[in-house]
C-alpha cells in the first residue's frame, strides 16, 4: 500500500456503507458513509482538475468544520494535489490581519487554488487581489454533486510513496510560512505504527472535537480513524468550547473508545460541566483518553478522573503522548490500559543543575508525567548545548530520528536544514529519559502553547508594536502557566511613552484588543512599562526567557500557583 488514495480505496471497496463519520451539530447528527464521503470527494477532484489544479499543486482550504471541509480535503488528495487546512477565521479576527497572514502563506507556498465558502470569499479575494494571478479562489458550495461511484472512475494518479501528501501549518504569520510537508509514506507508516501501539482497529470509535488544522485533529482525530476503517464522531471545536459536555455525551451515545485532548481540556471538562448535563452518561467504553500537544500535568488527570469516575471512567484509560506535526504525529505513547508513570524529582536539582533526580520528600519534589516510550522505529536522544548526547536523567533538548519525519518545511529549504543535526530532528523541547520513557519538562524554542495551539511570540510583539504610543521593537510576549486552567496564558510587556495615567490605561486596552483581534488568541496579561525595561541581548535581540523571568519576579508572586491580580496599566 503506497498512498493515502489507495488506502482509502480499500475502505471504499470493503466497507462502503459503513458510517465513516458522524458529524455532530447541536443535537443533530449527520452520518456520512465511506461511499458518500469518497464519492463526494471524487466530484470535488473532478472540479479541481477541470479548474487546472495539477498533481503536486498545493490547495489551501479555509472552511469551517463540516462536510465541505472533509470532502474538499479528500478531493484535493484525489487529484494528486497537496491539501493544507487553515484555521477558519473567528468572527473577532480582524479581516485585514487575516489577509496579511494569507499573503504570508501564499508568498511561501504558492498554492494553485484556495477553497473557501461564500461568507468568506469576498475577504479572501480582497486580501489576495493582485498578489498572484494564477491562484484560483473556489467556493465549496459550487462543487458538483453527482452519482455515486465517482470514486471508482478517478484517473490513475501514478503517485509515489515519497510524494507529498499534505501540508500542516500552525497559525499566525510565522506559522503560516512554515508548512510541514508530509509524504504519503510518512503518513501511512505512522498511522500503522501508532495504531499497533494503541491497538486501534476498525472496531474503535474515535470521538473528537479537535480542529483539523492542527496535527492532533488532522491525524488522530480525522485521517487515522478513516484510514483504519474505524468510526469517527466529530464535532466542531467552537461548539465544544461552549458545551464541553457534548464530548462526554457523544462518548456515551456512540460507545466512544478513543479520544485525544490537550491538557487544558482535562481541566476544562472537569471544572465546567454541570451535573444536569451528565445525567445517564456512561463513560465505561472510553478505553483511552490521550493527553497530548501541550505540557501534561498530573493535577489535570486527577481532576478529570475525580469528576468522571462516577460516570464509569477508569483511571487506566488516562494516557499521555508526545507528538509533533514534524513526525506526522506521535513520537512517544504511554502504555494503553496502564496507569501513566509519574516521576517525582527533586525541585532544587531540576532548577539548578538540570538533573532529574528521584526525590523521596514530597514537599521538595515535582511530579512529572511520563510521555511513555518511543514508537517502533523511532529513536530519541537528549542533547546538551553542544549537541552531544547526555545520560539518563539529565535534562537537555529532545532530538528524534524516525522514517516518518517531514520531507521538509515547504518552500523553506533554509528552515529544513536548520531543523536537523546529523540526521536528528531537533524538537526545541526539553526533557529527559528514565527507564526507557520520555519526560518532557520544558522548551528551548520560544513558542507559546495556549490550549494546545502554538502561538509565535514575534507575531504578537509585532501587533503590539504597531499600536500608537508603543515603542516598536520593544514589546515582548511569552507564556505563563496557569495551574487552574492547565495551560499557558499569553503575557505581553510593552514599553510606552505616555505620561497621563488615564491615557496609559486606555493604551493598555488598545494593545490588548489589537492582539485579541489580530492574532487568534486572547492575551491575558498586558503590562505597560517605561522605556528601558525590556531586556535585549548584546546583539540587540529580544531575550524572551530573561524578560519572562523579570516579569514573574516583578509582577507575579514566586509561587506560580498563586494568581495575582493583574492591572492593565503599569503599577
Amino acid at each position: 500500500m503506497t498512498t493515502l488514495v489507495e488506502r482509502l480505496g480499500e475502505r471504499y471497496r470493503q466497507t462502503p456503507d459503513r458510517v465513516a463519520i458522524h458529524g455532530l451539530t447541536g443535537d443533530s447528527a449527520q452520518p456520512l458513509t465511506y461511499r458518500t464521503l469518497l464519492d463526494g470527494a471524487a466530484w470535488v477532484a473532478r472540479d479541481l482538475s477541470a479548474a487546472g489544479v495539477r498533481a503536486g499543486d498545493v490547495v489551501v482550504l479555509v472552511l469551517p468544520h463540516g462536510q465541505d471541509l472533509l470532502m474538499s480535503f479528500f478531493g484535493a488528495l484525489f487529484c494528486g494535489s497537496v491539501p493544507s487546512i487553515l484555521a477558519f477565521p473567528s468572527e473577532k479576527l480582524d479581516p485585514g490581519r487575516y489577509a496579511r497572514s494569507l499573503e504570508a502563506l501564499v508568498g511561501v507556498t504558492r498554492p494553485a487554488a484556495l477553497i473557501t465558502n461564500e461568507s468568506f470569499a469576498g475577504e479572501v479575494r480582497g486580501a489576495l487581489a493582485g498578489m498572484d494571478e494564477s491562484l484560483q479562489i473556489l467556493l465549496a458550495g459550487d462543487f458538483s454533486r453527482g452519482q455515486s461511484g465517482a470514486f471508482l472512475h478517478l484517473p490513475d494518479l501514478k503517485l509515489l510513496p515519497d510524494d507529498i501528501a499534505l501540508l500542516q501549518h500552525s497559525s499566525g504569520t510565522t506559522g503560516l510560512q512554515k508548512g510541514v510537508a508530509l509524504s504519503h509514506h510518512a503518513v501511512l507508516a505512522h498511522v500503522e505504527r501508532y495504531a499497533s501501539i494503541i491497538r486501534m482497529d476498525a472496531q474503535d470509535v474515535v470521538v473528537s472535537w479537535l480542529p483539523l488544522f492542527h496535527d492532533m485533529g488532522l491525524i488522530a482525530g480525522f485521517l487515522m480513524p478513516l484510514l483504519l476503517g474505524a468510526t469517527l464522531v466529530l464535532m466542531s471545536p467552537l461548539e465544544w468550547v461552549r458545551a464541553p459536555h457534548r464530548l462526554l455525551q457523544a462518548v456515551s451515545h456512540y460507545g466512544g473508545s478513543l479520544s485525544w485532548l490537550p491538557n487544558f481540556a482535562f481541566n476544562f471538562c472537569a471544572q465546567k460541566i454541570r451535573d444536569r448535563d451528565l445525567e445517564k452518561v456512561d463513560l465505561s467504553s472510553w478505553r483511552a483518553v490521550i493527553n497530548c500537544s501541550e505540557p501534561m500535568r498530573l493535577e489535570s488527570h486527577k481532576q478529570f478522573i475525580e469528576r468522571f469516575a462516577p460516570y464509569g471512567l477508569r483511571e487506566q484509560a488516562l494516557a499521555t503522548c508526545y507528538a509533533m506535526a514534524e513526525n506526522v504525529f506521535a513520537v512517544t505513547q504511554s502504555a494503553i490500559g496502564s496507569k501513566v508513570n509519574v516521576d517525582r524529582i527533586d525541585r532544587r536539582a531540576f532548577e539548578q543543575t538540570h538533573l532529574a533526580e528521584s526525590s523521596g520528600a514530597a514537599q521538595r519534589s515535582i511530579s512529572v508525567l511520563s510521555a511513555g516510550k518511543p514508537l517502533p522505529k523511532t529513536r530519541i536522544r537528549i542533547l546538551d548545548e553542544e549537541r552531544s548526547e547526555v545520560p539518563q536523567r539529565v535534562i537537555g533538548e529532545i532530538a528524534i530520528k524516525s522514517d516518518t519525519l517531514l520531507t521538509g518545511y515547504y518552500g523553506r529549504e533554509d528552515l529544513s536544514q536548520k531543523a536537523f543535526h546529523d540526521g536528528w530532528f531537533l524538537t526545541g523541547d526539553l526533557g529527559y529519559l528514565a527507564e526507557g520513557e520520555l519526560y518532557v519538562t520544558g522548551r528551548k524554542k520560544e513558542i507559546i502553547i495556549v490550549g494546545g495551539k502554538n502561538v509565535y511570540p514575534q507575531d504578537l510583539e509585532a501587533l503590539a508594536g504597531e499600536v500608537q504610543g508603543i515603542h516598536p521593537g520593544r514589546s515582548v510576549a511569552f507564556g505563563i502557566f496557569n495551574q487552574q486552567l492547565g495551560t499557558e496564558e499569553v503575557a505581553l510587556v510593552a514599553e510606552e511613552h505616555v505620561e497621563d495615567p488615564h491615557a496609559r490605561e486606555k493604551l493598555a486596552q488598545t494593545v490588548r484588543l489589537a492582539i485579541n483581534r489580530g492574532a487568534d488568541v486572547a492575551v491575558r496579561h498586558v503590562r505597560l512599562v517605561p522605556r528601558g525595561w525590556v531586556i535585549k541581548t548584546s546583539s540587540g535581540k529580544l531575550a524572551r526567557g530573561a524578560n519572562r523571568q523579570k516579569f514573574i519576579e516583578e509582577f507575579f508572586l514566586e509561587d506560580e500557583s498563586v494568581r495575582t491580580t493583574q492591572e492593565d496599566a503599569g503599577a
Binding site: 468572527e91 461552549r242 458545551a243 465546567k272 484588543l513 483581534r517 491580580t565 492591572e567
Partner: protein, 92 residues
C-alpha cells in the same frame, strides 16, 4: 416585589463586576454598557461557559449553550436584557 429597574441595575452591576474581576482579572476595569464583549475578543470563547455558569448561579435562570453567541448578546446591555427576559419567563 422589587421594581424592574432595581433588578436590572443589580443584574448589570453583578455582570460587570464578574467580567472585570474573574475574566479580565482586573477588578477596577470599567466596561461600557454597549462595549462589544465577544466580537471584540474581550471575552474569549474559553470564558463563555464561565459566564454562563455564573449567570445561572447568580440569577437562577437557565442558558442553553447555543445561546452563547453574538447573535444573542455581545454587550453587557444585551446580556442584562436577556437575563431580565428569562427571569420574566420563569415567573410567568
Amino acid at each position: 416585589m422589587k421594581p424592574p429597574s432595581e433588578i436590572r441595575s443589580r443584574v448589570h452591576n453583578e455582570i460587570v463586576d464578574y467580567i472585570a474581576r474573574e475574566i479580565l482579572q482586573n477588578a477596577r476595569r470599567r466596561i461600557e454598557l454597549d462595549q462589544a464583549l465577544i466580537s471584540s475578543g474581550l471575552i474569549d470563547s474559553f470564558h463563555l461557559v464561565d459566564l454562563a455558569l455564573f449567570v445561572e448561579a447568580a440569577f437562577n435562570v437557565r442558558i442553553e449553550d447555543s445561546e452563547l453567541s453574538t447573535s444573542v448578546f455581545d454587550s453587557v446591555r444585551e446580556l442584562t436584557e436577556f437575563i431580565m427576559e428569562r427571569m420574566q419567563d420563569d415567573i410567568a
